[in-house]
């Protein structure tokens, strides 16, 4: 079993009728994901990509048994879309949209906790369960190879980089998750590690971190206390100058805990295998696996 999504997952896509949403949904379907419906207010009753489109998440849940929502709607409407999904009855929300105001995310997080709904993102590439054929996001499907390494990362293309290196070395993945780079996100590194630790399919984990915030320290603490599976880690941003914004809102150096050095040390102390160069992530995993 993979984590979060698998062949039983029934995905609805909020914003499927949009250009980007439609393009990416097709890639998901091609990968084998069970996309059961689209949701676009005002487009209910139509069909897109051979899937029924509904006006509301509730309808898509009621009529198609959707249990995961993948969100592509523009930032100004994404907060509403997330609340609608959480209230509409799905168990997991994957929000690709970037540009959601931080204070909205704070409110959303409180609501998700109340409703007991999980969320990946926003501003993330989503996730792919490789062997269980469920791609709910935008990680290119063709870079994967099924296997037993779980991948968790903040950023998009750096996730692809790590996955690409693994596949090139013949090392397959169980589930790959990009949790997103915003200051407030749904599930964090630590939350994903907990799932990997319990997942039969996952035998080891690659953790990709970045400067800024304390998610990696949090993850290191969890690894130290609870994790039995080996973890390889890489932290990006060692050469980024302090106090400068590097694209991700999360990638701001906010004190010594937020430096690459501090994060690496914490993960090393937790028993992780550290990849010092982003070009060596695959090789480091290969060595770790012996």
């Amino acid at each position: 079993m993979s984590i979060l999504v698998d062949t039983n997952t029934r995905v609805l896509v909020q914003g499927m009728t949009g250009k980007e949403g439609g393009f990416q949904t097709e890639r998901c379907i091609d990968f084998g994901t069970n996309v059961v419906a689209g949701v676009t207010p005002g487009r209910g009753g139509t069909t897109h990509l051979d899937r029924p489109v509904y006006d509301s998440v509730k309808q898509a849940v009621n009529e198609q048994g959707a249990n995961v929502s993948l969100i592509f709607v523009p930032a100004a409407f994404a907060t509403d879309a997330i609340f609608e999904a959480a209230d509409g009855g799905v168990d997991l929300i994957v929000c690709i949209t970037d540009g959601i105001p931080t204070l909205d995310m704070s409110k959303i997080s409180a609501y998700l906790a109340k409703k007991n709904v999980r969320m990946i993102g926003p501003n993330c590439p989503g996730l792919t369960s490789v062997a269980d054929k469920a791609k709910v996001g935008i990680i290119p499907g063709n870079i994967h190879k099924p296997g037993s390494v779980g991948v968790v990362s903040r950023s998009g293309t750096l996730t692809y980089e790590a996955v690409g290196q693994l596949s090139a070395l013949g090392i397959g993945q169980s589930t790959c998750v990009g949790v997103g780079g915003d200051p407030i996100i749904g599930m964090r590194h630590k939350d994903i590690l907990e799932l990997f630790e319990e997942d039969d399919q996952t035998e080891s984990v690659v953790l990709i971190g970045e400067i800024g915030g304390t998610a990696e320290q949090e993850a290191a603490e969890y690894i130290k206390e609870h994790m039995t599976k080996p973890v390889t880690a890489f932290i990006a941003g060692a050469t980024a100058p302090p106090g400068r914004r590097m694209g991700h809102a999360g990638a701001i150096i906010t004190g010594s805990a937020a430096t690459a050095e501090s994060k690496k040390q914490a993960l090393l102390d937790a028993g992780c295998h550290i990849s010092d160069s982003p070009g060596d992530i695959g090789i480091t995993v290969q060595k770790m696996l012996g």
Binding site: L103, P140, S155, T157, Y160, G213, E218, A240, P278
Partner: protein, 382 residues
């Protein structure tokens, strides 16, 4: 987006947070006159988007109108170089002239977002007027952090906890609690990502005053704050960064000589890291973004080579949403428009990597191809 001190204080004032009597000026004579209005003495502060301005000579206490006009004249129109700016500095286009404050204590107070707790956090310390990062590092027990639950919102009991930590009496604590509540209102209504008051001054008569303040807005929320556009002072930004920004490209100027074009912030940082590891140095951080078009890629490429310090260019693209053929086409079209005299190393993989490689090859651009990140770094170092 960073705001100027005077803009931040205008916002604070409108939310009922006490600030010193002051005014912002672009003319030295008017600044001088206002020193008189304040009773003949004042503090004059350069309005720039950079910390460390005091040590860099951007702040002065003046004792008469002439001194005021002279100091204002000496910094207005100049560039201020602080520890937080590059060697080129930032332009001083306005000065804030403020009354002198009778200081009894200097405290630190800020509110920002804590991603771990997914909420706002109040940060307070008795060590006002200092670099708070150093206080946090050396004497963490002197810093209090209290989270504001998004369900309850701010409640006065939190303010009483801050007041107790700062050893305030009941009356001062009530004033502090009201001040914090006003700060929170300012944050919620304006989508601020940071309000920092340092120092928060306790005056001789026991009042509270936001003597200096830093404020940033959450740019993600710009769509619902149309007036934020008026608050932007683009002149405070690096010219190249500003141009990039206007084109939707994430760009940060750095000190090295290897120009980088990457898709994705994480991969862009990793690319910088790998360049440093082979002994070279990145000239910039650049993320063309996932939704990049051919035109955006072309603009990004032109931007990179327009930087005179760039001696080599590394294009590192992992095709996903942004396809490699789009990147290749963008680079080729830019290359044809401008003179490029620096070597180009290209590493492309992922979606449509082969098509992209073919476009570059057939274009005749003298690009060195690398097949993975490690190899790309190696070729940069060669």
């Amino acid at each position: 987006m960073k705001l100027h001190e005077y803009q931040a204080k205008n916002i604070l004032k409108s939310f009922g947070v006490p600030v010193p009597n002051g005014k912002v000026f672009e003319s030295k004579d008017e600044a001088g006159k206002f020193v008189d209005e304040l009773g003949g003495s004042a503090v004059i502060k350069a309005q720039v988007h950079a910390g460390g301005r005091g040590k860099a000579g951007g702040v002065k206490l003046v004792r008469n109108a002439q001194d005021g006009a002279d100091f204002a004249g000496s910094i207005l129109g100049s560039k201020l170089v602080t520890v937080q700016t590059g060697p080129e500095g930032v332009p001083v286009n306005s000065v804030l002239v403020e009354e002198l404050v009778d200081i009894s204590r200097e405290l630190y107070l800020s509110i920002t977002v804590d991603g771990g707790e997914k909420s706002l956090v109040i940060i307070a310390s008795e060590e006002g007027g200092m670099e708070i990062e150093e206080v946090a590092e050396n004497t963490p027990e002197k810093i209090q952090q209290l989270h504001i639950d998004p369900v309850s919102g701010y409640q006065p009991y939190l303010g009483r906890q801050v007041g107790a930590f700062l050893s305030m009496d009941s009356k001062q604590t009530r004033a502090l609690s009201a001040l914090i509540e006003n700060l929170v209102n300012a944050i919620l209504e304006n989508d601020l990502s940071l309000v920092e008051i340092n120092p928060l001054v306790v005056t001789a008569d026991g009042g509270l005053l936001a003597a200096d303040t830093k404020m940033s807005t959450d740019e993600n929320a710009d769509f619902r704050h149309s007036k934020n556009a008026d608050l932007r002072d683009a002149e405070q930004e690096d010219p190249l960064e500003r141009i990039a920004n206007e084109k939707g490209i994430q760009y940060v100027k750095l000190d090295g000589d290897v120009g980088c074009m990457v898709n994705g912030a994480g991969l862009a940082m990793a690319t910088m890291d790998v360049i440093a590891q082979v002994g070279s140095s990145p000239a910039n951080f650049l993320d063309v973004g996932g939704g990049g078009s051919e035109e955006q890629v072309a603009e990004a490429f032109k931007l990179i080579v327009s930087d005179p310090s760039v001696k080599k260019v590394l294009i590192n693209v992992f095709g996903g949403i942004l396809r490699c053929d789009v990147v290749a086409n963008g680079v080729v079209s830019a290359y044809k428009e401008i003179d490029v005299n620096v070597p180009i190393i290209v590493r492309m993989t992922g979606t449509n990597a082969e098509e992209g490689g073919e476009i570059l090859r057939s274009s005749g651009i003298p690009a060195t191809v690398a097949h993975n990140l490690a190899e790309a770094a190696q070729k940069v170092a060669e």
